[in-house]
């Protein structure tokens, strides 16, 4: 099942609608990275609200998306991780280290906007991000 990717200003928003197979996830990664270049996007939001499980493959794919987007000039934020999903993830040892997360789409957009300002004003990013590397 293909994940729809919307373009809004400088941002790309991928909102996952249902459970994804590994192939779906890989396809999402390729589509997003290709579009970051094509649209010269500054930010990427992946909305995972609809996912009721995230295993190591899903987390690795999200991490790859964030790192590859960064290399192509865009910040990524993962939004909508459900409480139960988050708890199972940390027990699995999947903490999405170095990848920004936010509560929902609205928060994700606010985060990307702040990131943009931050670049101009050389300010540290606010909470919700533990990437101190």
């Amino acid at each position: 099942m293909e994940v729809p990717i919307l373009k809004q200003g400088h941002y790309l928003i991928a909102s996952i609608q249902s459970a994804l197979t590994d192939a779906d996830l890989s396809q999402l990664r390729e589509a997003l990275i290709e579009r970051v270049g094509r649209f010269r996007a500054r930010g990427v939001i992946v909305d995972v609200t609809a996912l009721d499980v995230m295993d190591s493959f899903a987390v690795r794919t999200l991490r790859d998306i964030a790192h590859m987007a960064r290399l192509r000039g865009a910040d990524t934020v993962i939004v909508g991780i459900q409480p139960e999903v988050a708890f199972a993830m940390v027990q699995l040892g999947l903490t999405l280290k170095g990848v920004a997360t936010a509560l929902d789409l609205e928060e994700g957009l606010a985060f990307l906007n702040q990131q943009g300002e931050g670049r101009l004003e050389d300010r540290r990013p606010p909470g919700g991000r533990i990437d101190r590397g």
Binding site: V79, I81, Q82, P83, E84, V85, A86, F87, M89, V90, Q91, T95, L96, K97, T101, A102, L103, D104, E107, P126, G127, G128, I130, R132
Partner: protein
């Protein structure tokens, strides 16, 4: 052989015959206990009061319960089935545990009943020592099983209630407080076991979502110690909160807990810590974009 000659009276040849005679003796016993019901249960109730058992109950209540226990007791002796007695013991326990009746009291009263009944058997059969012996042989195992059933029923009910109360206390003792928009405080007090730690995490993660919290201060000033399992769990809670988009600040780490965290190799760059709750809230407000001015900045400089 020499040893064989010394053996006690031979066992009955037919085990069935033995059972039958036991059954007959129990029937006789039950008839005796029914006949003397009024007098024996009064004697029993008197002894309960004298031994200062069931002090939480009035004399009328003791007498009423004594009557029920007596009848159930006799019935269990008669039928050899203990389900009814078990159910009664559970029901009795349910009623008396909230009133503070202790395990030793319940064990005490069933042992007293056993003794009262045994004495009355002595009285009835003291002329015929052989008969008395056989009656006691039939009575004792049944009586012990009755005592056991009641005591175990009581303890099980008590444990069930304790478990229930522990649940309730757990829920109460893990308040997630919203102190201002987008800021939650979770003050943890007492001992954290793995089950409570789990419950705490689930509650906190749900609260982050429903309150749209951006910063959480977990204050563990009230936690004296935690083992490495619970410490790991704390780290997982911090990580899971971040996955929901919230930053966690941990405050009030005791030297012992700090030691535990260092020992298990927690990545401290992943966990924001501030000395005390006050400082934690200030840091949280800073993250939320509120400006906190120290008092000395407001006071005129010397």
């Amino acid at each position: 052989m020499a040893t064989k000659a010394k053996e006690a009276p031979p066992l009955p040849q037919d085990p069935l015959a033995h059972t039958e005679s036991t059954a007959a003796l129990l029937r006789e016993l039950v008839a005796h206990l029914r006949q003397n019901r009024t007098q024996l249960r009064e004697e029993w109730a008197r002894r309960i009061t004298r031994a200062q058992l069931l002090t939480a109950m009035t004399e009328e209540e003791i007498f009423a319960e004594a009557t029920s226990v007596y009848d159930n007791y006799v019935e269990a002796l008669e039928t050899g089935t203990f389900e009814a007695l078990q159910a009664y013991a559970r029901n009795l326990s349910e009623r008396i545990i909230p009133r503070g009746v202790e395990t030793h009291e319940v064990v005490g009263i069933v042992l007293l009943l056993r003794d009262v009944l045994a004495r009355s058997l002595f009285g009835k059969y003291h002329e015929d020592f052989d008969k008395l012996n056989r009656i006691l042989d039939a009575y004792e195992p049944a009586a012990n099983r009755v005592a056991n059933t009641v005591a175990v029923g009581f303890v099980q009910e008590r444990e069930r209630i304790i478990r229930q109360q522990q649940e309730a206390i757990r829920e109460l003792s893990t308040p997630v407080l919203q102190v201002r928009e987008r800021l939650l405080i979770l003050p943890i007090i007492g001992v954290i076991d793995p089950q409570r730690a789990r419950q705490l995490t689930e509650q906190l993660l749900r609260a982050i979502r429903t309150n749209r919290a951006k910063v959480v201060v977990i204050d563990i000033t009230g936690v004296a110690a935690m083992d490495s399992n619970v410490a790991n769990h704390l780290v997982q809670t911090v990580e899971a909160s971040r996955l929901l988009g919230a930053t966690v600040i941990v405050t009030g780490l005791s030297p012992e807990i700090a030691q535990t965290l260092v020992t298990i190799g927690v990545d401290l760059s992943e966990m924001a810590t501030v000395g005390d709750l006050q400082g934690g809230i200030e840091e949280a407000e800073r993250l939320l974009g509120y400006k906190v001015l120290p008092l000395e900045d407001l006071a005129p400089k010397p």
